[in-house]
Symmetry: C2
Subunit: 506 residues, 2 copies
Amino acid sequence: MPDPAPNAPAHDAYATLARRFARMGHIANALGILGWDKDTTMPSGAAHSRAESIATLSVLHHGIMTGPDMADLLAAAPEPADAWQAANLREMRRLHAHAMAVPPDLVEAASRAASRCEMAWRSARRDSDFASLLPSLTEVLERTREVAQAKAAALGLSPYDALLDQYDPGTRQTDIDPVFDRLAAELPGLISGALEQQRAHPAPTLPRGPFATSAQAALGQTMMRTVGFDMTRGRLDVSLHPFCGGAEDDVRITTRYEEGDFLNALMGVLHESGHALYEQGLPRDWHSQPVGAARGMSLHESQSLLMEMQVCRSAEFMAWAAPVIADALGGDAQAPEWSADTLHRQVTRVRPGFIRVDADEVTYPAHILVRYEMETALINGQMALRDLPAAFNDRIHALLGLHVPEDRLGCLQDIHWPSGSWGYFPTYTLGAMIAAQLREAAQKAHPALMDDIARGDFSTLLSWLRTHVHHRASSVSMRDIVRDATGAPPGPDAYLRHLRHRYCGE
Amino acid sequence: MPDPAPNAPAHDAYATLARRFARMGHIANALGILGWDKDTTMPSGAAHSRAESIATLSVLHHGIMTGPDMADLLAAAPEPADAWQAANLREMRRLHAHAMAVPPDLVEAASRAASRCEMAWRSARRDSDFASLLPSLTEVLERTREVAQAKAAALGLSPYDALLDQYDPGTRQTDIDPVFDRLAAELPGLISGALEQQRAHPAPTLPRGPFATSAQAALGQTMMRTVGFDMTRGRLDVSLHPFCGGAEDDVRITTRYEEGDFLNALMGVLHESGHALYEQGLPRDWHSQPVGAARGMSLHESQSLLMEMQVCRSAEFMAWAAPVIADALGGDAQAPEWSADTLHRQVTRVRPGFIRVDADEVTYPAHILVRYEMETALINGQMALRDLPAAFNDRIHALLGLHVPEDRLGCLQDIHWPSGSWGYFPTYTLGAMIAAQLREAAQKAHPALMDDIARGDFSTLLSWLRTHVHHRASSVSMRDIVRDATGAPPGPDAYLRHLRHRYCGE
């Protein structure tokens, strides 16, 4: 498949670009499988060999993207008449602009700084020793600010918006600030309201394990099929940290089993299944083209949270699921500890805590608000890194009423900052908001939606998501997808209504 | 890692080449994992997406090998003083010559013909219908002859030797003919002698299953560890057809379990472990460089056959293994059906049959001799393809005394010819010969070698193979490796002695 000659007419430029981006897509699929294998299957001694393969494929991908005539081709391609082709060209230009904005030396320096800092972070977290992390984290922050400034200059954005745009194309700080301000104002009242309502009921008495891993895995697969996961185009496996990865037509989710607690793994499977349904629902005609990709991390997170939080932690879902779960795990479906009410109360339990990834639906946004405040201040140069622990702990106290006793349980808990992923945190809570908004819209279109769920029938929900979210891929902006699907741009109202309804009985 | 400027001095040419070949090595490692995954793990619906990734990585690999300045770099590189670097440069030139010899159009035509023919072969074999295969197999043969002629012209070899050289660098028809003539002369007598000796003993009465797959897999891993397989740099998994694949420091073998018969899977694991020990024993300093690769398919097959046939089908090995096997599979080690004698007689049983892959050690070479005669005659234009079935069946009858009742059990049984792998078959029997020769030499150096095996101690054997075969990689020719290790070039004597000793009591 050679490219056309350099003097080929301009209308071939789009075809040439499509071929090159397809090749990059195929490399990305290979990287998806190599990454999955690394985290699930690979023997420990292969780490170096695998890192070499992944680095080489990444260099080849980058080499195609930044090839010498890429800019000319992108400039020469005439605007396609077809809307999807036009959107594809727009996405090609966006990806190319991101890739070209940062000089190769800075790319490498940032990558090295992150590798060094990730290593330092493992011991710093273990020892709760922020001081030991400060030098390498300072370097990561400096390199990240340089990347942000380079991308800001090239893309005409503010530095923080340039970082955000890598994960959530088109989302800006000006979109986030008013929403997060509103959340910050409402959250403390919401949390105390939820805790008050919860005190009115006894804590649920749960079934006692051990629950065999094989039975939990079989249950996970049953649930995947129930929500609509296509098992001929994906898998469920085990990894230390659950994820959704793999490749096109090969979407691989993972979970981790504990014999004493089946709900963690099960809710994890349902969460990752939400991500996977999005990937499996992207239009196959546009596979390996930029326009065929999922539309950013907020919308991706909305799909996992819609499935896990909105739907599968509902009383309706548990009414159907409780006997299925009891049956799969050898429990007595008639016993009170296996009842829908017990399981539903357990999966909607609110307990303010220090660790973000263990947080419930009500307190989770507080963790994100704190991180967003901290990282915008740090990127914009309004705070010194040495002041981070105290500022972090102050805000946790303000929002959750907790005193962080050591940094291991505070600003050292997440890998995002050490690994250079600044600008990522807000997508979690934007995703939670969009999930509530989409669920409301789906239910408005199909008033019996939750009755279907209560019969284990996800077809109405999935079909609505396919049409209004999945099939649109990156053909329009995330804001337009949400607006077209719900009648309003992404906002906090549906999310706050959902939390008040589920947790405060309003 | 940019290449040096085009006007860089010649002594940088070698460094540039080493960097490029390393990159090709990393791509080959990625392809090894993607191929393993395809055959063990991949969901069925991912076939198309995976084929695209594999094709793209192959094109990128080929693109580096045939890059515009590759020939100049290979010509400009001065002869390195270091023997391994010199051998590396020689191997780079050999691989480049092979890659450049065939014009891209012919590469593609040959690949398409093979894909079409493989598809036709699946139904032709099922229906035992050679006529339906004839058109597509004719096209494969024609394209293969064109490839052979192109490589012959570029490499200064005969057409068949040019094909052979792809799988077994340096081996020529003139090396094979006298050896195979000798085997053809001796084989009928050997087979009848073996059958006669076998008639003197009753057929072994084997343990009755079912043998749980999980217990068989655990036994396989025990045996892998026993022979020296490094489980931190490899794995055992399940596939339809057993193979040894994966990547550097990540050697993955597979087998297939039947609940009624544990010996097939077990012997398969030991066979693939022989291949794997070779890969794990290649010098790590030369990973991803041409000189660091295994030295051709005959030597590779010698390592699997030395392990499986020479060592693990011996009475000595079974003396140690029988109670381990009984214990792993829940058998009674004291019962006669689990005795070393019973298991040893079963794994050395001779039974002439139609199917090559099911053949025992004594009749196997007959299958190879027939295929070698056929494929040399076809490539050299001395036989028409339509005459293949009759000629094939005649020779099977002459060597094994069997009348092939249908082509499904004759010339249609193997995928090699439909898939374009002409010149591969002789490496199986060359490997069997070399295995016997290496085993004799190892035993001469360590007279207690088989006493160690009878205690389940493979360290002496493995250490000898590491020094005399594995660590040499592709630093010298296969003939030199065998000569240095055994004092003689590859020949049939040790192999015939082994067969007469084990099967004819001589």
